[in-house]
C-alpha cells in the first residue's frame, strides 16, 4: 500500500465519521469523529480487517454489498432504520447512536487501487427531533379534538336549553290560551246560570250546556295530551316494551274509531298482515295510532277515505295512516313535530286540535326506538308513517 495516510487527515476536520478500507477490508484510515463516537483509536485499528473489528459486518447483508462496492459497483446506503449498528456507538445515556452510513469507492490514481470510503452521519438528534415534533403534533391534535368535543357538548347543551325554554313557553302558552279561555267561558256561563237560574227555561239551560259539554270534551283531551307530554318531558313516563301483534292493535283502534268515521261518512279501511310481532310499549303505541287515525278522520271530507296499513321493513314494522283529506303545505309539515312552534288546524268539520298530539306521537315513537315522518300534498291528502322494532320471534 503506497498511499500516504496524511492525505486522509483532512477527514479529521469534518463532522461526519469517515473510515477508509482497502479491497481486503483492511482499515487504512479512521477519523477523529469515529474515534469519539466508538471510543476506538485509529492507532489500535490501523491495518486490522474491518470485519474482524466488527464481526457483525461478516453477515451477508453487509459483506455482499460492501464487496460489490470494492469491485467498482455503485455506492450502498445503510439506513438507521434497517441497520441500527453498522458502527456500534452509544450516547452518554447508553442509548444507541443512529448512524446513516454510506459506502462508496474511490480509485487511487497512484496505483489504480479501489478503496472503500465509509462515511457515517449522526441522525440521532434528527430522529429525536422528529419524534418530539410528532409527539407535539399528536398532542396538539388531541387538544384540538378535546376542544372540538367540548364545543360540541356546549352546542348540545345549548340546544337542550333552547328546547327546554321552548317547552316552558309552550306550556305557558297552553295554560294561557287553550285552558284559560274555555275555563273562563265555563266560569261566566256558570255564574250567569247561578245568579239568575230561575229566569231560564229548560231549553235555555240546554242551550248553555251543549257547548259546555263539547268544550269539556275538548278540554279533557287537551289535559290528557298535556299530561302525557309533561310525563315524556320529565322522563317519568315508563316505556315497558313487550311483544305484541301490531295487526291486533290496529284493528282494536279501528274498531274504537269506526263510529267517529261513520258519523263523518269517512271510509275507514286497512291493509294488514295476518300477524306481525313487534317489541314496543303497547300503551304509547296505542296513543300514537289513535292520534294519527283521529287526525286522518278529522282532516278528511265526507266520502273521503282513511287507510291504515302495516308492512315489514328491515328490522321494523312500518305503519302508515293515509287519508284523502286536505293535505298540508311544506311549511305546515315543517311545523308539525316542533314544540317551539305553535300549530293547530281546525278539521274539515271544524274539529279543534290541541297542537300537542303529533308532538306526543313523536316522543312516544322515538322512545320506542322508531321514527315518524309525513308525506303530504295540499289538496291530495297525507300519509303519516311510523316505525317500531320487530320482535325477533317473527
Amino acid at each position: 500500500m503506497n498511499i500516504d495516510i496524511a492525505h486522509f487527515e483532512l477527514f479529521n476536520a469534518v463532522p461526519i465519521g469517515v473510515c477508509i478500507i482497502d479491497k481486503d477490508f483492511r482499515i487504512l484510515f479512521w477519523n477523529k469523529q469515529l474515534e469519539i463516537w466508538t471510543n476506538l483509536n485509529f492507532e489500535n485499528l490501523s491495518g486490522k480487517k474491518l470485519t474482524e473489528v466488527f464481526s457483525h459486518l461478516n453477515q451477508p447483508k453487509y459483506i455482499v454489498p460492501i464487496s460489490s462496492v470494492l469491485d467498482g459497483g455503485p455506492p450502498v446506503v445503510f439506513s438507521t432504520q434497517l441497520h441500527k449498528n453498522f458502527f456500534p456507538s452509544f450516547l452518554p445515556n447508553a442509548q444507541p447512536r443512529l448512524l446513516h452510513t454510506t459506502v462508496s469507492n474511490w480509485k487511487c490514481k497512484l496505483n489504480d487501487e479501489i478503496l472503500g470510503i465509509i462515511s457515517a452521519e449522526d441522525y440521532t438528534y434528527l430522529s429525536y427531533r422528529i419524534k418530539e415534533h410528532k409527539r407535539m403534533r399528536d398532542q396538539a391534535l388531541q387538544e384540538v379534538e378535546l376542544r372540538k368535543k367540548a364545543e360540541e357538548e356546549l352546542r348540545e347543551s345549548e340546544r337542550k336549553l333552547r328546547q327546554l325554554n321552548a317547552t316552558k313557553d309552550k306550556f305557558f302558552s297552553i295554560i294561557a290560551h287553550d285552558l284559560k279561555n274555555p275555563i273562563g267561558a265555563f266560569k261566566n256561563v256558570l255564574e250567569l246560570l247561578y245568579s239568575d237560574f230561575e229566569s231560564f227555561t229548560k231549553e235555555d239551560i240546554l242551550q248553555f250546556i251543549e257547548p259546555l259539554q263539547e268544550s269539556a270534551t275538548q278540554l279533557y283531551s287537551l289535559l290528557e295530551n298535556l299530561l302525557l307530554w309533561a310525563r315524556t318531558q320529565t322522563r317519568s313516563l315508563q316505556i315497558s316494551p313487550i311483544e305484541f301483534n301490531i295487526t291486533d292493535l290496529v284493528l282494536q283502534n279501528i274498531s274504537l274509531l269506526k263510529l267517529t268515521a261513520d258519523n263523518k261518512q269517512v271510509e275507514l279501511s286497512t291493509d294488514l298482515p295476518e300477524r306481525l310481532l313487534v317489541f314496543a310499549d303497547i300503551n304509547s303505541i296505542t296513543t300514537v295510532l289513535r292520534n294519527l287515525i283521529t287526525n286522518a278522520i278529522k282532516f278528511t271530507y265526507p266520502n273521503g277515505r282513511v287507510l291504515v296499513s302495516v308492512k315489514e321493513k328491515d328490522a321494523f314494522a312500518e305503519v302508515c295512516v293515509e287519508d284523502t283529506g286536505i293535505g298540508m303545505s311544506k311549511d305546515t309539515i315543517d311545523k308539525l313535530f316542533r314544540i317551539d312552534v305553535h300549530h293547530t288546524t281546525l278539521g274539515t268539520a271544524n274539529e279543534k286540535g290541541t297542537g300537542l298530539g303529533l308532538i306526543v306521537c313523536k316522543e312516544f315513537v322515538e322512545a320506542n326506538g322508531g321514527s315518524i315522518w309525513v308525506e303530504s300534498e295540499e289538496g291530495k291528502g297525507s300519509k303519516f308513517f311510523f316505525t317500531i322494532p320487530l320482535s325477533n320471534k317473527n
Binding site: P74, V76, S79, Q81, L82, S104, Y123, I130, K134
Partner: protein, 194 residues
C-alpha cells in the same frame, strides 16, 4: 455511430433484464409481489422529454431516489412514486405498525437505502451485461414534481438526444404504484452495444 433499431432492441432487452432483477429484489425484500409493465423505450430531445415527463404525473408530491452515473455512458436511473405511497413502502420494509403515513427525514433516509438497493441492481445489471464500468453518485433522495426531481438530468441534457426507458411497477397488496426510469445520453449507447 448511428443508433439503429437493432441497437434499440438490444437496449430494451438489457433494460428488461435489469428492471426484472430490480423488481425481483424489491419482491424478495418486501415479501410482496411486484408486477411490471413492459419497458417503453423512447428517444427525446430536451423539450419533448419535459413533455413526456409531464404526461407521466402532474403530482407535485413525488418521492424519488436518484442514482446518477457517468463513464462509458452517462445518465441517471430513478425510482419514483407518490410520497404517501413511499411511506407505505418504508413501513413494509421496517415492519413498523403505524397509521402515521407522514413522510419524515428518517423515512426518507430509509427509502434512500431501499431505492439504492433496487437501482444498484438495475444499473449494475446493465453495466455488467454491457461489460462497462461506471462512476456513480451517492444516491439522492429528492421530492417535488417530475421536472424538479429530474432537474439535474434535464439541465445536463439540453443538447442532444436522450434515450429514455420507463417501466411502471405495482405492489398491489400495498397499493403502491411507481416507475423505474432510466435516462442516458444517446451518443455513447451504440458504442457500448457494439
Amino acid at each position: 455511430m448511428v443508433f439503429t433499431n437493432i441497437h434499440l432492441d438490444i437496449f430494451q432487452e438489457m433494460i428488461n433484464i435489469g428492471v426484472g432483477r430490480a423488481a425481483n429484489l424489491l419482491n424478495s425484500l418486501s415479501g410482496k409481489h411486484v408486477s411490471l409493465s413492459v419497458p417503453s423505450i423512447k428517444l427525446f430531445d430536451y423539450k419533448n422529454l419535459i413533455n413526456e415527463l409531464e404526461s407521466i404525473s402532474k403530482s407535485d408530491n413525488l418521492s424519488c431516489v436518484l442514482l446518477i452515473f457517468s463513464g462509458e455512458i452517462s445518465g441517471s436511473s430513478c425510482l419514483i412514486f407518490p410520497t404517501e405511497q413511499a411511506s407505505k413502502l418504508v413501513l413494509a420494509f421496517t415492519g413498523i405498525q403505524t397509521d402515521d403515513l407522514d413522510f419524515d427525514e428518517i423515512q426518507a433516509e430509509t427509502l434512500s437505502e431501499i431505492g439504492n438497493i433496487v437501482l444498484n441492481s438495475l444499473v449494475g445489471s446493465i453495466a455488467n451485461n454491457f461489460g462497462i464500468s461506471l462512476n456513480y453518485s451517492i444516491p439522492l433522495y429528492v421530492t417535488g414534481n417530475l421536472n424538479q426531481v429530474l432537474s439535474s438530468e434535464i439541465s445536463s441534457n439540453q443538447n442532444g438526444l436522450i434515450l429514455y426507458a420507463r417501466t411502471h411497477f405495482k405492489i398491489e397488496s400495498l397499493d403502491i404504484e411507481g416507475d423505474f426510469l432510466f435516462l442516458c445520453k444517446l451518443e455513447s449507447v451504440p458504442f457500448i452495444i457494439q
